[in-house]
Amino acid sequence: MTILQRRPQQQAVAEPHRRGVTRRQRPLWLLAPGGVLLVVVVAVPLGLAVWISLIDLDQYTLRRWVEAPFLGLGNYAESLDTALLHSIWVSVSFAVLATAITVPIGVAAALVTQNAYRGRAVVRAIFLIPYVLPSFVVATVWRTMLQPDGVVNAWLGGLGGLWLSGPRSYWALVLVEVWAAWPFIYLMALAALQSVESEVYEASAVDGATWWPKLTRVVLPYLRGPVLLACLLATLNHINNFTLPFVLFGAPAPEDVTVMPMLVYVTSFQSLRFGLSAAMAVVSMIIIAIPLFVYLRAVRLDVHEQEARR
């Protein structure tokens, strides 16, 4: 997606007469199959989620859910009493922390692979490995490594301990998420670096700048916009990540890593309190909506108007 940086050379001259040519035969029916699917599997369930969050739905009323008793905001009141506030805190802090740790790693990785050298292709491929591996594979591997008798404790010796339960599980989750997610920042930073023209470097070299001022004053400012956007997306992905904690710790997870998706899952498919769980899911959606709206504003969708007519 075209992100914050502008590309003036692409804002071609508008050709207003073009549009009229095809106006009469707009084949809007082509949107129908996708539209129907999105309505049936996304829009209807979204509405249904809100409805379920207002009724008392459990395993007894599930088969005839239309007749389940109406509760109003009862589920929301109950959800705020229970573990939800704790899991919001766990989710948000974990997501922000993971993003904060991945940014320097990802940017550093982009900087070391920007200049060509022999073997760079191999290094780039290696950097992509954590990103390429499916989450459930990554989680399975780390789960094995972090077992009480596992290899991590064997290395740590006296410093070892329980990683998959108790307070350290939180750090285990952060560690594994960081390991799996930093290449995303790397990719976005690399894409931004590659759009910086080489004249910029040459000009600063002529000025006699050494690498550190060149990096902090010339190169990094170019990365700020794209990396900020990547941070927003990465944080959203961390908050929504269900697979990693689910496979790493199993359900129900230890209290310290009961992130929002985990809580919603356990409440519906293990406690079978469907109404309550839907209320929690709606609350978590509202929390996610805040960064999401910031993101949607930042992305320039209107790029269509300029680029389509090049």
Binding site: L62, P130, N240, L301
Partner: protein, 285 residues
């Protein structure tokens, strides 16, 4: 010397950072490979370098875990999802890029926004809806591959469409306009011109849809029966089953994990150039 001018970091720093990052990535990766070649006892006792090298885990895994059924199910569901979502995504994107109509920008914004809806929010209502299809319409959806396919297709579609939108924008429209003046219909234009010209992007859109299904655990864990389980769920169930047992078969688990990762790694190796472009274009996994 142009290379020196554009060099970002001094050489020693570059080497140190590169080595550190590679070590960070490769240690766990090396661990999977070594552990899968180790004996179960060796892995359980925390060995990194195997005491005994053996391929036993790779032969035994097929009987201890339901891996083969899982892989077949995953291949079927994800393969069909990939093809369907690439085709639907292309036709939707074509309309979104080439024609102007009321609500187009809202749809574009929706395509980006939809990718961030948490799966856990959708899971329960989709489950209720699918089980209602059984209660009220007499259609069994839960536990079949169809239900899973429908869910994956829908969640893959916004991203596939978005990939195609970014690609079709850069495609010159002169060919289509020429065809249209010759009297070609939209269907013909799509089949004869747009699809052949945008094959690389279609492959990317399809692969991402495939990976979305392959990597999913959430929906597959609720919408499948043991016979229709995907590889991801088979591995997860296998992993959880190790906790209570007398001797956890960790080596076999690592072998199974490697086998589940293999198709994905293969796809990336084959299409690395296109996929990396698609990743940064879509901004999501």
């Amino acid at each position: 010397m142009k290379a020196d001018v554009t060099r970002l970091l001094p050489r020693p720093l570059l080497v140190i950072v590169t080595v550190l990052l590679c070590a960070l990535v490769l240690t766990p990766v090396l661990y999977i490979v070594l552990a899968s070649l180790n004996s179960d006892v060796g892995v359980a006792s925390g060995e990194f370098w195997p005491g005994t090298l053996t391929l036993d885990s790779y032969t035994r895994i097929w009987t201890t875990a339901e891996l083969s059924t899982g892989i077949v199910n995953s291949l079927i569901v994800c393969g069909v999802t990939a093809m369907a979502s690439a085709l639907l995504g292309t036709s939707s994107a074509y309309v979104l890029v080439r024609f102007s109509f009321l609500g187009r920008v809202s749809i574009l914004r929706g395509l980006v926004g939809l990718q961030s809806i948490p799966g856990t929010l959708m899971l329960l209502p989709v489950f209720v809806l699918f089980s209602s299809a059984g209660t009220y319409l007499g259609l069994t959806v839960i536990g079949t591959r169809w239900g899973l396919f429908l869910a994956y297709l829908t969640f893959a579609l916004p991203f596939s469409t978005w990939v195609m939108v970014t690609y079709l924008r850069s495609l010159p429209r002169e060919l289509e306009e020429a065809a249209r003046t010759e009297g070609a219909s939209t269907t013909v234009i799509l089949w004869r011109i747009v699809i052949p010209l945008s094959l690389p992007a279609i492959v990317v859109a399809g692969i991402f849809a495939f990976l979305l299904g392959w990597n999913d655990v959430l929906f597959a864990s609720v919408l499948t029966r043991p016979e229709t389980r995907t590889a991801a769920v088979a591995l997860q169930v296998f992993g959880t089953a190790q906790e209570g047992g007398a001797l956890p078969v960790y080596s076999q688990m690592m072998a199974a994990a490697l086998i589940c990762a293999a198709p994905v790694v293969l796809l990336y190796l084959l299409f690395q150039r296109y996929l990396v472009g698609g990743l940064t274009a879509g901004g999501v996994k």
